[in-house]
């Protein structure tokens, strides 16, 4: 019974944790601009992240070592250092976007400028990591994130023409007056928003710290195979709501409140309030995860003591890394750079950085020295290789497309 509850909680957390500022911004913009013609990158991203999160969880369980620890061991110092710099840069940008996202959500609820909230949010993130040890709260934020299913309710309440929605999704076309490069750029943004590298670092470090054993491998599968698809369903409902409300009105998305607009129209004030709770929970949860991920990867590269359940004095460098990065992220958030722009860049650079994490995961998941008899099956390897090709193509195309399209303008 206790085990069942644990699985259930894990799945709920995975659903809520799947959506963060990346999806909120990318899926709203994509829906407002292209309707449902960009659902396929969400589904493609889902398949890729399913495969690799399961591998990372399995690696962490069997070798009792988190991903980045093994990256250094297997790739050697030089390759791992380049990997570290890329991953931390993207992580940092993502953390800034998440913290700004929390502040923007509070601004929507209170009408007090988000600049005032950023320092308070950063302080809250730090306090939770410092004192609360972020284990119960992980579930709390995950479950509160489920309120984002208000988007699905809103879509259902708008009584859309389901047949035309389905054909938009299955026969994606680029609208008149839009160029193909811009369309592909947004496809990469949606793809990158669906799978951000920090998720793997956080997931595998958590598995190590909670001392998962072979018996827990099915919790790993349940979290990934049930939680992630339901999370992706929430992400798709955000895009659909934008496609139904923002696209016909030709609204260009520049602010986070435009993401909540469809729910406000369909469900009124209560719906709006529920969705704001969802925004807050999703972005706050992700702020904590990205902050911890920076601590994890840097500590695991240098071999320092780390852990969200370890007291600060047992892991001083780990906590110092997080303190510094949180302060810097708050600083960047306060610099008046548009938080929506920061989010857009963070998801596109996420796509660029993905091969850095995914290649070593695929290599290690095939190494019997770490995995024993639980190395990848042929099927997983075949799908993993195809996914890797997709990831590498997206990573290579991202920056040229960004330059060519002036970042999707």
């Amino acid at each position: 019974m206790k085990k069942l509850l644990e699985v259930f909680l894990g799945v709920l957390t995975a659903i809520g944790g799947f959506v963060d500022i990346g999806e909120l911004v990318a899926n709203t913009e994509a829906g407002a601009r292209y309707g449902l013609a960009l659902i396929w990158p969400v589904l493609l991203g889902l398949v890729v992240v399913l495969l690799y999160a399961e591998m990372a969880g399995r690696i962490a369980t069997l070798s009792e070592r988190p991903v980045f620890d093994l990256v250094r061991e297997r790739l050697g110092e030089r390759a791992a250092l380049i990997n570290l710099i890329g991953s931390v840069a993207v992580n940092f940008l993502t953390m800034t976007a998440e913290i700004a996202g929390v502040a923007l959500s509070i601004q929507l609820a209170t009408d007090v400028s988000y600049f005032l909230w950023i320092p308070l949010v950063a302080f809250g993130v730090w306090m939770i990591i410092w004192k609360v040890k972020f284990s119960i709260l992980e579930n709390v934020f995950g479950i509160l994130g489920l309120t984002l299913f208000a988007f699905a309710v809103a879509v259902w309440q708008m009584h859309p023409d389901w047949h035309s929605l389905f054909s938009q999704a299955t026969h994606p076309t680029v609208p008149h007056g839009e160029g193909h490069p811009t369309y592909l750029y947004w496809a990469i943004a949606v793809f990158g928003g669906t799978i951000m590298p920090y998720e793997l670092f956080f997931f595998s470090s958590g598995a190590v710290e909670e001392r998962w054993t072979r018996k827990d491998l099915f919790i790993n599968r349940a979290n990934v195979y049930l939680g992630f698809p339901l999370g992706a369903a929430a992400a798709i409902s955000i895009m659909t709501a934008a496609a139904l409300v923002l696209k016909p009105a030709n609204i260009q998305v520049n602010h986070l409140d435009q993401a909540a607009l469809p729910v406000g129209l369909a469900l009124g004030k209560v719906g709006l309030a529920v969705v704001l709770v969802g925004f807050f929970a999703a972005t706050f949860g992700a702020s904590l995860e990205t902050a911890l991920s920076n601590g994890y990867v840097i500590s695991q590269f240098f071999g320092w003591s780390w852990g969200k359940l370890v007291s600060p004095r047992e892991a001083p460098l780990f906590h110092a890394v997080m303190l510094v990065t949180i302060i810097l992220a708050a600083g960047l958030g306060l610099s008046t750079i548009d938080p929506i722009k920061i989010t857009e860049y963070s998801i596109v650079f996420s796509a660029v950085a993905l091969p850095l994490t995914y290649v070593p995961v695929l290599i290690i998941a095939n190494d019997p020295n770490y995995m024993g008899d639980k190395t990848n099956s042929r099927m997983t390897n075949a799908l993993g290789m195809i996914s890797l090709v997709v990831v590498v193509v997206a990573a290579t195309a991202a920056i040229p497309l960004m330059i060519a399209t002036k970042a999707g303008a």
Binding site: F301, G303, P316
Partner: protein, 132 residues
């Protein structure tokens, strides 16, 4: 001779870049480099593990390696800084990690760790001040 520490080891595959863990299961550092000596028959043997930028920057090589090494030397309190050494006699076991028989804070590799603890983290309220 300790049975848990093998006599012969493939240094590149099984030793370098491995995690070092102390007697309380806490991470200490990585095996950034090794110090070797030669026995009477000219065979190399490992006498110490070396940690920190002083050990890994030279392995990194090139301009970044030289720069990191120079910064480390400049910041180091000693006039002729040496990389932190963990002598092989405190290594209890080598498996997926290198396990020590002593606590983390007693090793030379934990110098930065101790400094940050003492000057920054330990001073923030709520750090758990069992020893100041």
């Amino acid at each position: 001779m300790n049975a848990d520490v093998p006599d012969v080891i493939d240094v590149g595959l099984r030793f370098l870049d491995r995690q070092i863990i102390d007697c309380n299961d806490r991470e200490v550092a990585k095996v950034d480099d090794l110090e070797a000596a030669f026995d009477g028959e000219g065979r190399p043997y490992v006498i110490a593990i070396m940690c920190g930028p002083g050990a890994w920057a030279p392995r990194l090589g090139g301009r970044p390696g030289r720069w990191i090494l120079a910064i480390w030397r400049r910041l180091h309190p000693a006039v002729e800084p040496e990389p932190a050494r963990i002598p092989m006699n405190v290594v209890a076991k080598i498996d997926s990690a290198v396990r020590l028989s002593v606590p983390r804070t007693s090793t030379a590799a934990a110098t930065l760790d101790r400094w940050v603890d003492h000057h920054v983290i330990g001073r923030i309220p709520g750090a758990g001040n069992e020893h100041v």
